[in-house]
Symmetry: C2
Subunit: 338 residues, 2 copies
DNA sequence: CCTCCTATGTTAAACGATTACACGTAAACG
DNA sequence: CGTTTACGTGTAATCGTTTAACATAGGAGG
């Protein structure tokens, strides 16, 4: 493997000049430039990443930290798209992207931090983190070492730190409003744990939406379960329907599957008898008849924008911003009164 | 940021001794060891990754290259699980994982290779690659620079190179056999492009399965489409059914959705009239009634094993192996004759 | 007492880049 | 003609490790 020294010797120039040609950091005569270029081509020289990193203290590498979700979960589509967005941007501007996860369950922050090599060795230029309600210590740890960081998907309260997230509360309010406009008055909610950032906000938006419409919050129309499973959705639907719900906002894919199965089994017509609005990771809702109206986020954009922000922070220390994305409601057939 | 020099000064020992304590590369007296440990704790010293890398020429970093699939695709669940498996293993043994993609479409290998920073800068210890039928140049490029590499999901013909992949052909044969045993004689196939490794093998296995059962291959019972969409599946199903198929092997999730919708719309009973066996990324097939019998791969295992192999190759130059995983058929209700 | 070994340390040379500082020449300016 | 100014280039220090080679001291064996 050729080194810069070898190029210098071949061309009869100094190491410094070669370096400047490579990085464009100083004016070099066209003649010398051509000389260097030729030598590089001949030798197949590539600058040594480690050496450059040692000198410049920059690795051009960014790490993305995400919670370690269960295998085969649709949530993974979401994270994969976030990852894709970040990766595409970073690849474009010549940065590397390292991926690491922390376990959602493991309560011991200490243990986790020790295991995250990427946090231990201090050589990452910046972090993209999908935080977790229980584990904000990771975020704080990164901030303490004053590493640049951008939070994805979820803002952490009390932490003034750049982030890009969905306005989940607003969109949930909108969902309720849509159902209200269609004449529904017993609007139920089915969703996951309130311990998670997203779960909590979806529920909160639902609640706020109700009061904005002048409806009152009724426990009997709300089904919260720790796990997102179709079976959970099924059971929750059963209870809500027994309590005369005429609309359901299901705040995640998997539970929606259960809800739909229940309604189909009981021959409850959608949307005539009950309106349903879901939350989607993938357009698989097209399987259902009628096609399900859903809230749609833009994970790819989120990743891309987050990476862009981080990149900008690396150039300009003072830059900081909070970007709010607004999910959209994809109007299909399951919410309209006929 | 403290350096090893500072630790040496604090403890009154030499840099070398400190280094040996840190790496356990030589016997050091317990007293000195304790001294160093204390100093490290006090100063919060972390070895400089770049410096170490420059000396040792190892980065403890592995890159995973995958094709750049469309957003929101269920294929992403598959890749995400592969990624997870690799990441979990690598995280465990103290390696970093970099992720990069190459575009499936872009024909110009040259352009792509130039864009892959991770290939350009030669500092990655090894590569995990999900290859592509059209773009084997990437794999060759890595091999030419004699970098360790493990192929995932797909073996590349004519390339003696360690890999871990699914025995797709065998499982496809088994699927046909299962349907045959249930008394089906007009077994159809619906799947994606034959240009892709996996698409081709699934189809090939189907064909081999037929002849093993003494059935003959009939174009009228085969629907191949470039894109995996539900609409495609729907159309293909229509044609197969018109040609009196009594069983369908659908070799991907998305098209299966279309197939099921078609059958439901036409009131064709599954499995009484037509048996269906699918190929699954996620157990979402539980939405369907009856629950769909599917082929199930183990992407997480694939990633984990691949990473393990690569890790071993880094320790032992001579190690090389091909690992074949066998997907399983998850027997549910859509294939049985009643 | 000499030699040799073991156990522990130290010295100093890499590794391959970046970059502050300095130098020489020639043209431009007053 | 002396002094700037501009341009192109070179010298050498530095980043923070690893590690081969060398040093030293104490004890065992003869």
């Amino acid at each position: 493997m050729a080194s810069i020294k070898e190029i210098a010797e071949r061309t009869g120039l100094s190491i410094a000049t070669v370096s400047h040609v490579i990085n464009g950091t100083r004016k070099v005569s066209d003649k010398s430039k051509a000389l260097v270029m030729d030598a590089i081509k001949e030798t197949g020289y590539k600058p040594n990443y480690a050496a450059r990193m040692l000198r410049t203290r920059r690795s051009d590498t960014v790490a993305m930290l995400i919670p370690n979700v269960r295998q085969g979960m649709p949530t993974n589509i979401f994270f994969m798209d976030v990852l894709s967005g970040a990766k595409d941007y970073l690849q474009l501007v010549g940065f590397n992207l390292i991926i690491a996860t922390y376990s959602e369950e493991d309560e011991s922050d200490e243990g986790d931090l020790r295991n995250l090599k990427v946090l231990r060795d201090q050589w990452i230029d910046g972090f993209l983190v999908v935080p977790n309600k229980k584990k904000t210590a990771i975020v704080k740890n990164i901030l303490d070492n004053n590493n640049p960081i951008v939070l994805l998907d979820r803002a952490v309260k009390d932490l003034a730190c750049p982030c890009v997230y969905n306005d989940t509360i607003k969109i949930s309010r909108d969902v309720v409003d849509v159902l209200y406009q269609e004449g529904r008055r017993r609007i139920g909610y089915i969703g996951g744990s309130l311990e998670s950032f997203t779960g909590f906000d979806r529920w909160k938006g639902y609640k706020e939406g109700l009061s904005a419409c002048g409806l009152k919050y009724d426990e009997a129309l709300v089904g919260i379960s720790e796990l997102h499973t179709a079976a959970n959705g099924y059971e929750a639907a059963e209870r809500l329907i027994e309590n005369q719900a005429d609309a359901v906002y299901v705040s995640n894919d998997v539970q929606a599957i259960g809800v739909l199965r229940y309604l189909k089994e009981k021959n409850i017509r959608v949307p005539k008898d009950v309106a349903v609005i879901g939350f989607e990771n993938y357009e698989w809702m097209e399987i259902c008849s009628p096609r399900l109206t859903t809230v749609c986020q833009e994970p790819y954009e989120m990743g891309r924008i987050g990476a862009q922000m981080l990149h900008r922070m690396l150039e300009d220390e003072t830059y900081s911003e909070k970007v709010v994305l607004t999910p959209k409601i994809i109007f299909r057939d399951s919410h309209r009164r006929e």
